[in-house]
């Protein structure tokens, strides 16, 4: 099908257009009205989208984004004219928005295509207020930047709509006290706001990638949103902070392996059995470019190390040909950055692959009483694999069975049980 035939047809609607336009317009109008008028910005955007739904049912406009911008701008001008925008404008904006003409100019600037990335970056920095929990920050990102409704966020986090609404209420209460979107400039890699946004995006990605959804091993849309939003950080001010590039690299590397992660029945495949030929090469390339960018600073953050480990897995032609010594060295550095039991068990597993299963086993056994690993199925799965590498088949079988009892989804459980069966002694 050629391109013009595609775009002539009413059904040629770009995927997620409404959600993404909601995020774009809410950020633009919040910039113009101030975060304390967020509700008003949301109402204007909702009306604009409802108008589009009504108007577009027989035919799409040539440029849907421009169409929406125009409708939103006109609605916003009505709102300013009505005097509904609470006049708590920050210096400089006060007089500007007070007169209708200047209001139009400010709106025009906020809604300009060239402001799109900056608006959304500033909106992200604004909703990641330090006094809000990470869960609340992610909820606000999903609501205001990604255009998800409470019910959709609840489904993504296996939570209830009530819980999500409470988080949104807490977030809105904090945002009501703020009169201007956060500036887009970073104070450097120590910038607390940047750190908060990176953690929130990482949490969002992980919820999609390792999430505990019973029927969907990977929720691709959450991963895609995290990558889309991270691009505002890497393409923004000063071509982004090195840490933002490291996170982007990490996400690209992980996400590139989604196609080989589960078999036709939706059961997780062990790394050794995954078809590396179907991993997404283009995403890996993108990850490599960001990993290069991330090396510009002098800093070696945990994100840099995690990205480098993921990179090694992507580059290896097979499990056996993986450079496990490099990975082990990276885990050593990572453990120094962040001495957590989860990193320790991963390091032990890398050590087993690198050819020292005995030492790996004693490390793994020592971790058995760690409270943080008590309900962590991957501790038992990793320990099972280490036992197998040390030729202790019975112990491997037992560990995988124990992992299966802790599994958070049927896909995980079946994967662990399948591994357990592999190590059952036929005699």
């Amino acid at each position: 099908m050629n391109e013009s035939a595609e775009s002539d047809r009413p059904e040629a609607l770009v995927a997620s257009l409404f959600r993404h336009e909601s995020g774009r317009l809410v950020a633009a109008l919040t910039r113009a009205f101030g975060p304390h008028n967020l509700q008003l910005a949301e109402d204007v955007v909702q009306e604009a989208l409802e108008t589009a739904l009504q108007a577009w049912k027989f035919q799409l406009p040539d440029n849907p984004r421009a169409w929406l911008s125009k409708v939103a701008r006109n609605r916003a001008l009505d709102v300013i004219r009505r005097g509904a925008v609470e006049r708590r404008f920050v210096d400089g904006h006060r007089e500007q928005l007070a007169s209708e003409w200047a209001g139009a100019t400010t709106l025009e600037e906020s809604l300009a295509e060239s402001s799109t990335a900056e608006n959304q970056l500033r909106m992200m920095l604004t909703v990641c207020q330090p006094q809000l929990s990470e869960e609340t920050q992610v909820t606000l990102i999903l609501k205001f930047l990604c255009g998800f409704a409470s019910g959709e966020i609840a489904a993504a986090f296996l939570s209830t709509e009530e819980t999500i609404d409470k988080r949104l209420q807490r977030g809105r209460a904090v945002l009501r006290q703020i009169e201007l979107l956060a500036p887009a400039a970073f104070a450097g890699s120590e910038d607390a706001r940047l750190g908060a946004v990176l953690r929130a995006l990482y949490l969002l990605f992980n919820e999609g990638y390792h999430g505990s959804h019973p029927s969907m091993p990977t929720r691709v849309v959450l991963c895609e949103e995290a990558i889309r939003l991270c691009a505002f950080l890497t393409e923004g001010v000063d071509s982004g902070a090195p840490q933002a590039h490291a996170l982007m690299a990490l996400m690209c590397f992980h996400f590139s392996r989604v196609p080989g992660r589960v078999d036709s029945e939706g059961i997780y495949l062990p790394l050794a059995q995954q078809d590396r030929a179907i991993w997404d090469r283009a995403l890996m390339e993108r990850g490599l470019a960001h990993l290069n960018h991330s090396a510009r600073g002098s800093e070696l953050s945990a994100l840099h190390l995690e990205a480098s480990i993921a990179c090694q897995h992507c580059l290896a032609p097979s499990l056996a040909a993986t450079d496990w010594n490099v990975i082990l060295g990276l885990y050593d550095l990572l453990y120094k950055c962040n001495p957590s039991p989860v990193i320790a068990i991963n390091r032990a597993l890398a050590r087993a692959y690198a050819g020292d299963p005995q030492r790996a086993l004693s490390e793994a056994v020592e971790l058995a009483d760690e409270p943080a690993l008590a309900h962590y199925p991957f501790y038992w799965a990793a320990r099972g694999e280490i036992h197998a590498r040390a030729n202790q088949r019975d112990a491997a079988h037992g560990c995988y069975q124990r992992a299966a009892t802790l599994a958070r989804s049927p896909a995980e459980e079946r994967a662990f049980l399948r591994n357990a069966a592999t190590h059952r002694d036929p005699g």
Binding site: R9, P10, E11, A12, L13, S16, L17, F18, R19, E21, S22, Q46, L49, E50, A52, L53, Q54, A55, W56, K57, F58, Q59, L60, G147, F148, A149, G151, E152
Partner: protein, 114 residues
């Protein structure tokens, strides 16, 4: 082929507070239905109308704001199609997604003159 007019009332267009995903999902269904009508040669040509407007009524030509209808009866658009018979036109209208949000379609044969 005879000509028919579909009159649409209510539906998702009068439902407030739908999520962005729900709106896009619904619009996709309209696109698919319209695409199918066009593909089968029914030559659909429609007008989507604004919610607001004016009504002029009676000998005194009283002009009032808005169409004054219950939301479910609010006209949200019309569409001209060509079909072999009224039954066929009704059959085609059954594929419209408007019913998902409790809307209605009135199918009216166009009077032929001459």
């Amino acid at each position: 082929m005879a000509k028919f007019i579909y009159v649409f009332r209510g539906g998702a267009f009068v439902e407030k507070g739908l999520s962005a995903s729900a709106m896009q999902e619904h619009l996709k269904l309209w696109g698919a239905w319209m695409g199918e009508l066009a593909k089968q040669g029914h030559q659909p040509a429609g007008n989507a109308v604004h919610d607001g407007g004016r009504t002029i009524r009676g000998k005194k030509k009283v002009v009032t704001d808005g169409p004054y209808a219950e939301l479910k009866d609010l006209v949200t658009g019309n569409l001209a199609v060509e079909a072999a018979s009224l039954d066929k036109a009704v059959d085609l209208a059954l594929g419209c997604p408007i019913y998902i949000y409790d809307g209605s379609v009135e199918v009216r044969p166009v009077q032929q003159v001459g």
